[in-house]
């Protein structure tokens, strides 16, 4: 930590920018002078124009609705004379005479013919062609292209489509709108991380997040935003900072899905690129002011279905229960204890002395009636979000600017939580000369949350869920027993002597919420300054310097008496990340007869630095004085500090060329070479090319007038990727044991011979449009092979090292994306658009390293996700015909322990559960890793998104719906709370025995062994019995009490001599336990807690209305629109588990090795109640 920055690099960076500018200015100005004074070609031209009388020089400007168009073709009809417009949209063409006809054309626009008729100045405005397919899109390096000319698929969302419905998190507004893109949010709060994965898992060692580029500034984004800085569970998701971008500032968003599209962005583009262009003042016609206001209320409506009928008890209720009774008449509620059994029935008139009972005049506690409460519901509140934005824009010939300010204030459904954010944006463009332009874009965001509720175990939802339903959580709001020292838990009155004051299993939820404070303050500043210069009519160039700076301060304050940190906690963390890019690009554009050529070449210097400094109290040691949260309030033996910093540099040169033939074919080629500091110095350079082709078939073959477009496209790309800093050489860590200094050799083997990774992708697609573009179709198939991935693979611990960095493997991702759009109705008053997109992706591990048969993504409890490479035999898994299962390599499998069954096929008990000596279900081979079975896959079978928009005059109704079908997830919430009497479903899972069989249960069970004895699928339990007599429980004696929560697992157990004894309910041979669904089986197997992840969601529903201008009379109002919206309403889930399948992701703190903290197909306490938001949006333009 001595040296953070390499001084050479600082100097380099200080020098490079002025140097480049100097080059640029001198070159540019010099060239300018050159042009005017001594350009021989120009002189020659002017001589020609005077000597040849027939020539007629025409000048003018070509514009579209938004302003000047650069690169438009101006040609003379019936002649080969043509030229291109410059950056100001200007052209000069020498024509054959004053009566010539000019043709103005530009891809994506309808061509215009203009008769010169002697006019020396001809300005034209081109209209963009009808329909959406001919739109111009922003592609790599900010190059604007006609979509038609692209040989690869890009997704595009217009800013207005993203902002119809207000989203505090930019990424959420992309959900369901672009095929091939899957968006998942891990929690309901605006501060939650959001994952964006384009075309499925491609990399085993990263979080597969795309690169974000805003106005040319690459922005750091990752999902590693979770930390659990205390010894106890306090897992906090600080969210990904990319979501701080102000959605209101977005002009357009382009998704470059495949490496062909993104190849020019290099290393980081392997998972796709999301290009964001912010609004500028270019479009403004004079001064414009826009004010918009969104206000929204989110009402919680669906909660995890918890047991509200019984206390969570030590023992089932009996009227003379020795431990639950105090003097035989009044019952003490032992609520709040973490035990397995359903206790006293609620809402049936039983009175008891409860935790909150008061004394009567004679000093005796007054029993009160025991009732059940829905504490989840009672705890949460309506969330409120307000977003107010103001933007001012202006433009004139020389300058344009846009300034914006936006304030977001959110209050979460958990009191005290929320987010507040201010965004400032400024875009300025200034033309120094007609050919020389400077633009700058600056964005500043300050976002802040005072309290983020911890997730996972230890979060406030866990405390609420575990609260016995007989306790009304609302009565616990006065959460201090001794302020600053001891929280008040819902426990039996102390003076009854049954429990000590500190004996609580879970915290008072209000204490957890208010006294475990996790806050952050994030400042992000990014922007660039760019100089564009038009060297001549064919050649333009720019140089740009961009900077992204992110500073985040996190603070955690925990008061004394939190169960997991009894002595309190204080921690402060400072994160700083910066990235600078200095790049230049030279563009050349020209037309040669029927061919058009556009070529660009450039380079980039990238420098990245990050640091993380942390000071905190050692877990368990805590703070000294209560309620003072300051580093000086931590004892000298209890304070800890650590820091980490890293830097890397990447230098690149790249080039691209597009050749177009007529309007028929376009060929793109690109090449890029990178030099990375993270690779071995003798092998740090790598080159990668790409090529793509677009054929407009309808220009070759006439399909008739109904066909507007038939385009076939295909692309090939290779992308190289470096690795993280410091992956080459082994290191030695320093720590302490008490006062003794210790050193440790890292157990991760680095690799001094790492090679760059390589992704090779191909895609093929077809775009169709019919009936004047009213029916549109796009289809793409793709395949992407990622080779030489830098993987941290597990090594045998006996080798002395636990993981090794290797270059290995081939991961293949392949899929289909379809998009169908139609304008169903369009006339003067009505317009109805409908678009459907479909995504299907599969990723495969084709090969790994020698001796490494599989790759593990995660393991949790009995479950996990790992994939055997294609062709590997999967141990202990068999096909239906009994043959060993050979892996197809498909990523996403979820595994579970196998149930031990009778394996002797000749036995009448074949396939029955083989129970242990105590009647418990057993794991096959003790649950050894290679004895588990595949029970599910976390990938969806398909994703379908539907957007529709219906306009009638000034009213527009739009909706976005998305559907996920297939795939499973493992709910650790269900497993955890299911081992205690918490879930409603646990009350009634036993096999029902009809009255006729009450005395011959074995006969009943044997009547249908496939259903009652053998197990299959995701059965929630497989036992006979119940938690109470009424619910089927058997008589059961425990510690001298007769209760009726006995139950047993159907099956057989060994008689010790090779035979079996039936455990089917015959009292002489059956092993009973108390109602154990909750315990053994729930804990040992994941199947009980696995769910189908299919869902249908109403992402957005919006009704907007444009107010007629005349309503405002002479007021300077240009337009007012008014909208009502709602979003993210879960319409249907197949599992009905009360858990949003979209939240079936687990962000784990500190997860290393696999590169990502983001685990798919598993959920842990993501039980935020579902909400219905309802919002109003008003937009006023002056």
């Amino acid at each position: 930590m001595k040296k953070r920055k390499n001084p050479f690099l600082i100097v380099l960076h200080r020098l490079i920018m002025p140097m480049l500018l100097l080059f640029f200015f001198s070159g540019g100005l010099f060239a300018e002078a050159h042009n005017n004074a001594s350009n021989p070609s120009k002189v020659k031209n002017s001589i020609l124009s005077t000597t040849k009388n027939f020539d007629f020089v025409v000048k003018g400007t070509v514009r579209d609705a938004n302003g000047p168009l650069q690169g438009a073709t101006v040609s003379e009809k019936g002649s080969s004379k043509q030229t291109l417009t410059n950056a100001a949209g200007e052209y000069t063409l020498t024509t054959s005479g004053p009566n010539s006809t000019l043709v103005f054309s530009f891809v994506g626009y309808a061509s215009i013919e203009v008769k010169v008729s002697g006019k020396a100045v001809n300005d034209v405005t081109l209209q963009s062609s009808d329909g959406k397919l001919t739109d111009v899109v922003v592609t790599a390096l900010g190059i604007t292209r006609a979509k038609k000319s692209l040989g690869y698929s890009v997704g595009e969302i217009k800013g207005e489509d993203m902002n119809k419905v207000s989203q505090t998190n930019l990424l959420n507004s992309m959900a369901g709108k672009v095929s091939g893109v899957s968006i998942n949010s891990t929690g309901g709060a605006p501060t939650s991380s959001v994952s964006v994965v384009i075309r499925g898992i491609r990399s085993l060692n990263t979080d597969n997040q795309p690169l974000f580029v805003v106005d040319g500034v690459p922005l750091k984004n990752s999902l590693n935003n979770v930390s659990s800085n205390t010894g106890g569970d306090n897992t906090i998701d600080y969210g990904n900072a990319i979501s701080d971008i102000n959605p209101n500032d977005i002009e357009s968003l382009t998704v470059l899905k495949g490496p062909s599209a993104a190849a020019l962005y290099g290393s980081r583009a392997g998972n796709g690129v999301i290009l964001i262009t912010t609004k500028s003042g270019k479009k403004a016609k004079g001064l414009g002011v826009t004010f918009s206001s969104n206000n929204e209320v989110a009402t919680p409506y669906k909660f995890l279905e918890t047991n509200q009928s019984y206390t969570v008890g030590n023992h089932p209720y009996t009227s003379a229960n020795s431990s639950n009774s105090l003097d035989g008449t009044n019952i003490i509620d032992l609520a709040g204890t973490d035990t397995y059994r359903f206790g006293t029935p609620l809402n049936v008139g039983i009175k008891a002395i409860q935790w909150n009972s008061v004394k009567d005049a004679s000093g005796n506690y007054i029993p009160t009636e025991m009732k059940g409460y829905n504490n989840l519901k009672n705890f949460v509140q309506n969330g409120v979000t307000s977003v107010n934005s103001l933007s001012i824009e202006n433009s004139n010939d020389k300058d344009n600017y846009r300034f914006s300010f936006s304030n977001t204030a959110n209050t979460g459904i958990l009191p005290t939580t929320g987010l507040s954010r201010n965004n400032l944006g400024l875009n300025i463009e200034h033309k120094i000369t007609d050919k020389f332009k400077v633009t700058t874009s600056l964005n500043y965001t300050r976002s802040k949350a005072d309290n983020i509720a911890a997730g996972d175990r230890g979060g406030v939802y866990q405390d609420i869920i575990y609260l016995s339903p007989s306790i009304d959580v609302r009565q616990m709001q006065n959460y201090w027993l001794t302020p600053g020292i001891q929280q008040r838990a819902a426990i039996t009155p102390v003076d009854l002597g049954l429990q000590g004051v500190t004996d609580y299993d879970f915290n008072n939820p209000y204490f957890t919420l208010n006294q475990v404070k996790n806050s952050f303050l994030r400042n992000r500043l990014f922007g660039n300054v760019k100089f564009d210069y038009q060297i001549d009519k064919h050649l333009t160039a720019f140089v740009r310097y961009s900077q992204d700076m992110l500073n985040e301060r996190r603070e955690t304050k925990i008061s004394k008496s939190l169960k997991a940190e009894r002595n309190g906690y204080y921690g402060l963390q400072n994160l700083f990340n910066t990235e600078s890019n200095t790049d230049f690009l030279v563009n050349y554009k020209n037309n040669f007869n029927d061919f058009t050529l556009s070529a660009s070449g450039g380079g980039n210097l990238q420098y990245v630095y990050g640091s993380n400094q942390q000071s905190y109290s050692q877990s368990g040691v805590g703070i000294v004085a209560p309620e003072l949260f300051n580093l000086s309030n931590i004892s000298s033996t209890g304070i800890r500090a650590n820091g980490y910093s890293s830097q890397k540099a990447l230098y690149s040169l790249y080039g691209t060329a597009t050749v177009g033939y007529k309007d028929i074919a376009y060929l793109d080629i690109t090449g890029r070479n990178d030099w990375s500091s993270t690779l071995p110095t003798n092998a740090n350079a790598y080159f990668y090319p790409s090529a793509s082709l677009s054929l407009i078939v309808n220009k070759m073959i006439n399909f008739g007038t109904a066909v507007d477009l038939v385009k076939i496209r295909g692309g090939y790309a290779s992308v190289g990727k470096d690795t993280d800093p410091y992956n080459l050489y082994g290191t030695l860590g320093i720590g302490s044991f008490g006062a003794t200094t210790i050193q440790a050799v890292s157990g991760t083997l680095k690799n001094p011979a790492l090679k760059p990774e390589q992704a090779i992708s191909t895609e093929l697609g077809i775009d169709l449009a019919f009936l004047k573009n009213r029916l549109r179709f796009e289809g793409t198939v793709y395949q992407s092979d990622n080779k030489n991935q830098v993987l941290g693979i597990s090594t045998p611990p006996s080798s002395g090292y636990t993981s090794r960095q290797i270059n290995a493997g081939l991961v293949r991702s392949e899929g289909i994306e379809l998009q169908l759009g139609g304008t169903l109705i369009t006339n003067k008053d009505w317009n109805w658009d409908l678009s459907v997109n479909y995504t299907k992706n599969n990723s495969y591990v084709i090969s790994l390293a020698n001796g490494v048969p599989y790759y593990q993504f995660w393991g949790d409890g009995p479950s996990g996700s790992w994939t055997y490479a294609k062709g590997q035999t999967i141990p202990n898994n068999f096909n239906a015909d009994g043959s060993p299962m050979i892996s197809d390599g498909k990523i996403g499998q979820i595994w579970d322990n196998k149930l031990l069954t009778v394996e002797d096929k000749t036995s009448p008990y074949y396939g029955w559960p083989l129970l242990d000596g105590g009647g418990g279900q057993q794991k096959f081979k003790g649950g050894a890793f290679n004895a588990k079975e595949i029970v599910g896959n976390f990938n969806p079978k398909l994703l379908l998104g539907v957007q529709t928009s219906l306009t009638y005059k000034r009213f527009t109704l739009s909706a976005s719906i998305d559907t996920r079908l297939g795939g499973e997830f493992f709910s650790q919430t269900y497993r955890y709370v299911g081992s205690d009497a918490v879930l409603a479903r646990q009350m009634d899972v036993g096999i029902k025995i009809p009255d006729a069989y009450k005395n011959n249960i074995p006969a009943y069970l044997k009547s249908n062994p496939d259903v009652f004895i053998k197990m299959s699928g995701f059965q929630s339990a497989h036992l006979v019995g119940g938690p109470t007599k009424a619910l089927g429980g058997f008589e059961y004696e425990d510690n001298g009490e007769i209760s009726y929560d006995g139950s047993f697992y159907p099956g057989v157990y060994s008689d010790g001599n090779g035979g079996y004894i039936e455990n089917l309910g015959d009292p002489a041979t059956t092993h009973y336990g108390y109602y154990t669904d909750a315990v053994t089986a729930n804990w040992n197997f994941a199947k009980q807690n696995m769910f189908d992840a299919s869902y249908i969601k109403l992402r957005e529903l919006n009704l907007s209305f444009d107010l007629p201008k005349q309503w405002f009379g002479k007021a300077k109002v240009q337009g007012v629109s008014f909208g009502l919206y709602t979003r993210n309403i879960i319409i249907w889930t197949k599992a009905k588990s009360g858990i949003d399948p979209e939240s079936a992701f687990y962000l784990q703190a500190g997860a290393q090795g696999n590169g990502s903290q983001f685990r798919q197909g598993i959920e842990r306490y993501n039980v935020t109640p579902w909400t219905i938001p309802a919002g109003v949006k008003i937009n006023v333009r002056f």
Binding site: R566, I734, P797, S799, G926
Partner: protein, 587 residues
């Protein structure tokens, strides 16, 4: 003009290329860690010593203490008390050995003899640990992951027998390196002293430790090898007093440096769920052993069976508390099939895994100290008719906790991570003498010395004399203790091992090893014991099995399945490895 433009564009590119080729190695130098080559031997040593002490010490005062029936946990205790041993991961041990290897290499490169001796002993100790618990394991091919070759990536297993031979060879090799006066070892600096958390750089004590561990390992393999001459040669080189003990005091600063059962940093249950095992309590009461007072907390409420306290004919009310005494109703007890706990009949009163409940449950009216029977059926925190609390917060007034003022502490004079002790040496030599070997004293002599050393170690007749005097169930001095008929040496191995078992309190690994080797002392099996027998080994863990499959499977195939392996197959805690194969022990 165009040429000019191209020229400066070219220059720009050139500038990029020139800049891009420099100083990458500087940028990519990790500013957060040292290079492995910069390792300081003393700090590596401190790492190896402290991590060995915490790991092995916690095993001795924790899980193995449960296995050997010294203590019991009454919540989340299926592994601790019911012998439901899941597979065990040796990653920590091999990780430590990785550091030790660099430590040894550095010490050899510097020609630092003391450090080499310590490194050899720690290598022997940790590989001995692996061989003791798992059996066959990578040894000669281990720890070479940094040397890139296929055979290093997937280390082959060595036989348990050859690992023991290597352990003995390392210990022998360490002794001459540690010889000589302290002043002759200039490599021992003040940093060495503070890094040596066991002996503060005392080379002579390390040499005695090497000999002591040799004695341990010769006895370990004595059923398979003739070790008489080796043991006889050691007799006067081993520990000579409690001061020689291989024990690390605990810093007690945070959870990682404190006694594992204290509740200062974590929840109260960390201490509260630790109770006394009935097996040990019953034995100590029978021996009138005063060490019980430094182990256990007296129960809060004594119980008596007294029909007169209940209404005649009441066969429902099992118990009630009156004036601080809990009365048990014999009529209700009979009706509910409750029985007074009896250590000698426990295993037959409720036979293992029998579905027929002749005796449904137990109570224990023993005064002052009550332990929990091994593998007790049901929610263990309810043992002895306790009605309150749950898994993590039970207050059981009828069962003995571990003594709170000693064991609910971060550190203490008695709370050390004890890895080898003088009393163990005494009992080892008593056993050798009992076999008729010449070890410089009679079996009885060494046996008595061992007991006395244990009393001294636990301060029984010094600091805790007052408590000893107060407890009527024990003798008040060493001499009386030693002359009792059930204590006095009677020529049997049983007696030696029984006392060694008691003396291994909080350092119980050796007691477990002795039980496995000799079947002594007789331990119980309870109704919900996982397989009806105490396990013999740790099963290979997935971490090795997953990444070194072929070699691990080859080792598994060499294991001998016992009738208790159940569905585990050969990789079972109930399989026998080389050390036990053919010995007929412990069962």
């Amino acid at each position: 003009m165009k040429n000019f433009n191209r020229m400066w564009v070219g220059m720009l590119m050139l500038a990029f290329i020139t800049f891009s080729c420099q100083k990458f190695e500087v940028i990519n130098k990790d500013p957060n860690n040292l290079n492995t080559s910069d390792a300081a031997p003393d700090y590596l040593m401190a790492n190896v010593l402290t991590s060995t002490a915490m790991d092995y010490g916690n095993l001795g005062s924790g899980n193995i203490s449960g296995a050997i029936q010294h203590t019991a946990q009454d919540a989340w205790s299926s592994g601790y008390s019911n012998y439901d041993w899941s597979t065990s991961d040796w990653s920590g041990i091999y990780g430590r050995l990785r550091n030790n290897q660099v430590f040894l290499q550095k010490a050899q490169a510097n020609n630092w003899k003391f450090h080499q001796g310590v490194a050899l002993i720690m290598r022997a100790f940790n590989f001995g640990y692996i061989a003791d618990f798992w059996g066959d394991a990578p040894y000669t091919a281990a720890l070479k992951g940094d040397v890139d070759a296929a055979e290093n990536r997937f280390p082959a297993f060595d036989s348990q027998e050859s690992i023991y031979a290597g352990v003995i060879a390392d210990l022998k090799a360490a002794i001459p390196l540690l010889a000589g006066s302290r002043s002759s070892h200039s490599e021992i600096t003040p940093v060495t002293e503070s890094s040596d958390v066991f002996y503060q750089g005392d080379n002579e004590k390390w040499a005695r430790l090497a000999n002591t561990l040799l004695l341990r390992y010769y006895l370990r393999i004595s059923a398979k090898k003739d070790v008489k001459n080796d043991v006889e040669a050691l007799a006067n080189k081993v520990f000579t007093s409690n001061d020689d003990d291989f024990a690390m005091p605990l810093p007690g600063i945070d959870n990682n440096t404190s006694y594992q059962k204290n509740s200062a940093f974590g929840g109260a249950s960390n201490y509260k769920r630790n109770k006394m095992s009935a097996t040990l309590v019953t034995k100590l009461i029978a021996l009138k052993d005063p060490r019980l007072v430094i182990m256990a907390e007296p129960i809060v409420v004594n119980s008596v069976v007294d029909a007169s306290q209940f209404t005649a004919g009441d066969a429902v009310t099992l118990s009630k508390v009156n004036n601080g005494i809990r009365f048990i109703n014999p009529a209700a007890a009979e009706a509910l099939r409750f029985k007074q706990f009896n250590q000698s009949t426990y295993s037959t009163d409720r036979p293992w895994a029998s579905p027929i409940d002749v005796v449904k449950n137990f109570y224990d009216t023993t005064p002052v100290y009550v332990g929990i029977p091994i593998s007790y059926f049901g929610e263990t925190y309810t043992y002895n008719i306790n009605g309150t609390g749950g898994q993590s917060n039970s207050n059981n007034d009828y069962v003995s906790y571990m003594r709170k003022d000693i064991y609910d502490q971060k550190k203490g004079n008695l709370l050390k991570q004890r890895l080898a002790s003088y009393n163990e040496v005494c009992f080892d030599l008593a056993e050798a003498a009992q076999k008729g070997w010449n070890v410089g004293g009679s079996a009885e002599n060494w046996y008595n010395k061992g007991i006395e050393a244990s009393f001294d170690l636990w301060d029984v007749f010094h600091t805790y004399q007052g408590d000893v005097d107060h407890y009527s169930g024990c003798v008040k001095d060493k001499e009386t203790y030693l002359t009792q008929s059930n204590v006095a040496y009677d020529g049997t191995l049983n007696r030696i091992i029984e006392q060694k078992w008691i003396a291994s309190w909080q350092a119980s690994v050796e007691a477990y090893m002795d039980w496995r080797r000799t079947g002594l002392p007789t331990l119980n099996i309870g109704y919900v014991s996982k397989r009806g027998a105490i396990p013999l080994r740790f099963a290979y863990h997935n971490t090795e099995l997953q990444s070194n499959t072929a070699n691990t499977n080859a080792a598994i195939n060499k294991l001998e399945e016992s009738s208790y392996v159940g569905p585990d197959g050969k990789n079972s805690p109930w399989s026998k490895f080389w050390l036990l194969q053919g010995t007929g022990k412990p069962w």
